[in-house]
Symmetry: C2
Subunit: 204 residues, 2 copies
């Protein structure tokens, strides 16, 4: 949802060709180092926006060289953009793939949890190093916005590292708690007395 709306915003500044959209996005988002946008996504997204009537192809009544299409935002597109600005970004938390991996390792015994943590931490450290180096070596005239974006990435990685430490410290406790396997119910509406199938965990 983000790229789509960003493109609407860029077209709101002025009409653009696909490649101009790409250039402008990279300029705004930091390009290469931070948020690389692939050309293909620009063109497919523009096509979808056009289908939905949020942008139109500019009709250049002169002799435009064919094979180039300049897009313009429509009123519907501007409305959509306003809605985007008014709506907070949904909090995406979770969806943490590493957590899943760790849980599965514990549940299946197919991998060593400590090793997973080791590998993940190494990867995080490497990325942290890359980003901090990048940040220090930044052209002093680099846009402040990109610096802030880098800072955010760094802060997130640091949070992840701290969380890894928490996990590692309490891994043995986690390991002792078996994952409850819910029973497979037979088909059909649940019986009246099925409510307490899952037994209360008894006090130790």
């Amino acid at each position: 949802m983000s790229v789509r709306n960003a493109i609407l915003g860029l077209l709101c500044q002025r009409n653009r060709y696909g490649y101009e959209v790409l250039q402008a996005f990279q300029a705004v988002a930091g390009g290469r180092e931070t948020w690389e946008l692939k050309p293909a996504q620009v063109y497919t997204t523009l096509a979808r926006l056009k289908e939905n009537g949020l942008v139109v192809e500019e009709i250049s009544d002169g002799e435009t060289d064919p094979g180039k299409r300049r897009y313009a935002i429509t009123p519907a597109g501007k409305a959509e953009l306003q809605r985007w600005f008014e709506t907070p970004v949904p909090v995406e938390h979770q969806r943490d793939e590493f957590f899943l991996k760790l849980m599965l390792a514990l549940a299946t015994g197919q991998a060593d949890p400590r090793r997973l943590i080791y590998l993940q931490r190494a990867s995080l450290f490497q990325e942290l190093h890359r980003l901090t180096t990048l940040r220090m070596e930044l052209d002093p005239y680099t846009s402040l916005a990109h610096i802030l974006l880098l800072d955010q990435a760094i802060m997130h990685i640091e949070a992840d590292l701290r969380w890894l430490e928490m996990i590692e410290a309490r891994l043995d406790e986690v390991r002792k708690q078996p994952i409850p396997e819910p029973e497979l119910r037979p088909r059909g509406r649940p019986g009246k007395h099925e409510k307490n199938i899952i037994p209360m965990k008894e006090e130790p």
Copy 2:
């Protein structure tokens, strides 16, 4: 990529019907509150895994009631799972939709940056409150893993809030830096002397 591999892991424990996969995933990932998996994704993912030969439908030579398919992991599937375990989760940082939104607001003047920050912060605080409340009220027998997952979410939101403060504090500085608009080059190979189109930023 995460759900797909998690399903492989669950099938590695034992063969399961689609709904059992769903149940087991929720049990492992925390369900509802943290990572809700939609039934449709289970079935479509299982179908794709089957196409790729990573799982097979169990052949129950008895009289199985048709309309139910139990899946089993194949050796290829186990290999894939091992590869997953050995590969660190790619650092996803960036892709921050809010950053984009803010930059676009600055570039287009279609929205007030302070208001965006206000809205976003309100949303983050609300979610933070929900999570901390949830964490405190947790059934004391709740899996430690889920508690840790909640903690991670909380830590990420706190990092986001701190970052918002940074942004807000330096917003005026950011505002003063106009976004550079790259020139649209004409088609074709770049000329020899085009290298320095982008003028060196002069010292102030």
